[in-house]
């Protein structure tokens, strides 16, 4: 590992992973943490007795920090991003999000009007998402020590019985489904950066996805008759939804590689099936970037048992954040741990994890 922290350590790619594996996991010795899912899911009981057989409720708990610059961008702001990001991490664990905390680090000199705008946005987003912000903290640091403001949100939710989602649950034959276009958020932010500015109809896709996830889970009956009874002649169960990931930093490619690694499977993706907006495609071509590695903030990738794929896809398309949902690939027992992309020409090539930062190139 390099001696100093570099920006690439925060990009969500391989260097970020190394930091987690070689530093954080080394010291923070927890089997729950070691699962490295988007949210930590664990059981509790009302008797304060932590023996597994007494646990009668599962909670999901997660935290994220937001340092995006600029803090206001088409489609959202750092506040909306923070609320959605934490809600989505909980949703990826199958949880119904309930309560959020907000920690703010403010730069001396930040305009009160800007802070109010961010706070108002967090309130609106939280209300729309059906969650409450119930605790928080504020610190102020000297001018130059925080890029206007940094936000940390932590969230807690309840995981219903029968819902078992995890990066290690994916099996060969599972279908890979994406809820919409990729690259929107990252390219929107990129378009605002100094030296890389261009005008575009790009808008961040920042959105809370737990409603979509609930719709997907509802489409699948729980074993033993929780909710709707299983349909006659069908073998579907909630187990059919194996895993959900939100492809944020590092993009879709990185999220797929993480799952392939954790589940010990191979994944094959059809390049032409991945939805990408024209403007995102064009912006990527201009800068020499690949949309598959660009961050998303309103997207999820679902790994679904083949018999349930159509049901889940229909449920997604009926929801506002799943209208453009598409099957993008399949899980296989070949090339374990690796993701392979089938190009429009019919050739197959490796789709690796993001290594450092994806840098705009001249060549």
């Amino acid at each position: 590992m390099s001696e100093k922290i570099l920006l690439a350590h925060g990009s969500g790619g391989q260097m970020s992973h190394e930091l987690v594996e070689h530093l954080f996991l080394k010291y923070f010795d927890s089997p729950i943490l070691a699962r490295l899912d988007d949210a930590a899911v664990f059981g509790v009981s009302d008797s304060l007795d932590l023996r597994p057989e007494t646990l009668n409720l599962r909670l999901a708990f997660t935290t994220d920090s937001y340092v995006v610059s600029p803090i206001f961008f088409p489609g959202g702001d750092i506040g909306k991003l923070a609320v959605c990001g934490t809600v989505n991490d909980l949703a990826m664990g199958g949880a119904t999000p309930l309560y959020l905390s907000v920690g703010l680090v403010l730069e001396e000199g930040l305009l009160l009007a800007d802070l109010e705008r961010v706070v108002a946005s967090m309130a609106t987003t939280a209300q729309d998402a059906g969650v409450q912000i119930v605790t928080g903290d504020t610190k102020v640091v000297d001018r130059g020590k925080a890029d206007r403001l940094f936000v940390n949100t932590a969230g807690i939710g309840v995981v219903p019985a029968g819902v078992e989602l995890g990066g290690d649950r994916v099996r060969p034959g599972d279908i890979v489904i994406l809820n919409g276009t990729v690259g929107d958020h990252g390219m929107t932010i990129m378009s605002q950066r100094e030296g890389l500015r261009f005008d575009s109809p790009l808008v961040s896709d920042c959105a809370p996805l737990h409603g979509l996830v609930a719709r997907m889970l509802d489409a699948l009956p729980a074993p033993g008759g929780y909710g709707n009874p299983p349909r006659m002649g069908e073998e579907l169960s909630m187990e059919a939804l194996r895993c959900l990931r939100d492809p944020t930093r590092g993009g879709l490619a990185t999220a797929l590689n993480e799952v392939a690694g954790k589940s010990g499977v191979g994944i094959e993706i059809e390049e032409q099936a991945v939805p990408v907006r024209d403007a995102v495609r064009a912006a990527c071509e201009l800068l020499g970037l690949d949309p598959l590695y660009v961050a998303n903030e309103g997207k999820l990738v679902a790994f679904v048992a083949p018999e349930a794929a159509d049901t889940v896809l229909d449920a997604m398309r009926a929801h506002e954040y799943g209208r453009e949902a598409a099957v993008i690939g399949q899980v296989t027992s070949e090339h374990v741990g690796r993701v392979v992309l089938r190009t429009p020409l019919g050739a197959r090539r490796i789709l690796d994890m993001l290594v450092g930062d994806q840098l705009p190139r001249i060549c």
């Binding site: 690796r338 020409l345 060549c363």
Partner: protein, 363 residues
Amino acid sequence: MKYIDEFRDPHLARKLLANIRAQSEQDACFMEFCGGHTHAIFRHGLRQMLPPTVDLRSGPGCPVCVTADADIDRAIALAKLPDVILTTFGDMLRVPGSHGSLQMAKAEGGDVRIVYSPLDALQIARDNPEHAVIFLGVGFETTAPGVAASILEADAENLDNFYVLSLHKLTPPATRAILDAGEVRLAGIIGPGHVTTIIGSQAWEFLPQDYGIPCAVAGFEPLDILRAVASMVEMVEDGRPAVVNTYSRGVRSEGNPTALGIMHRVFGMSEADWRGLGRVPASGLTLREAYARFDAALAFPVEVGPSRQHTGCRCGDVLRGVVEPPDCPLFRRVCTPARPVGPCMVSAEGACAAWYKYGEANV
């Protein structure tokens, strides 16, 4: 996207491949000079679809890869000077010099900023009159005219804080150097399409005339590359080497006289140090005396220690097409995109990066 999508038509690509297969009888090794071609070939999976008689070798056409260690060290030293803003294309950020990279210089407090265009660097100079803004001029004939035009603009405005460290290099002399070295039996050269928009297809006439091998100037979409390969296979089989411009929508025989005029007005030719090729006469561009005040090398002479020698690194051999990346003992074992030893692994166009990232030819 117009003039891109049409040239990615999979249906036409398959026909071109059939044409190549039908014609190709002799073994032929073609060098794609340009790193952008290497990247495109891998990205679209073209290698695995060509017949076994056609071998493609990467050449030294990656301006980042061919930048000598001493020059990278010089750039890093400049970045560390007080009151200097070093502006650079994104590709250069992670290239390892003798001790660290520009990215590490940034982590240590150097003001290093990524720009998409030398014009952006010019703007940074206007916005920061109390700083010296140095632009790292890397790139071949495609890039140099734009940098020259930026210097002319700075001159017209009497900007006194804008500088260029010219590491620009010329492609025909490098091609000659490789052929003169005679290390690889090349049956033809895939000509760099965008360099040739500037220098003109006639600039490659020396290939059939002096070396008896064909050159097909190629664009960067799959159909462009396949068409160029088809054309060269035809010329090899017929034994009639010539220069064929298959990128006629962008390339003219005489090139872009305006751009050439501007480039030669600002820059003169000098010998240059190429990684892999060593010193090549008349292959580098240096600022003419009339523009000497913009020359960062003169305004900021920096001492750089002896360049490091990393035993085992075969970037130089890869750049000359003598070996392919897997033949380098460090490839994948020691040298990876996360921990690159040489620039061929870190540059997006580097052959080693392409081999590593996109995997072996047949997955």
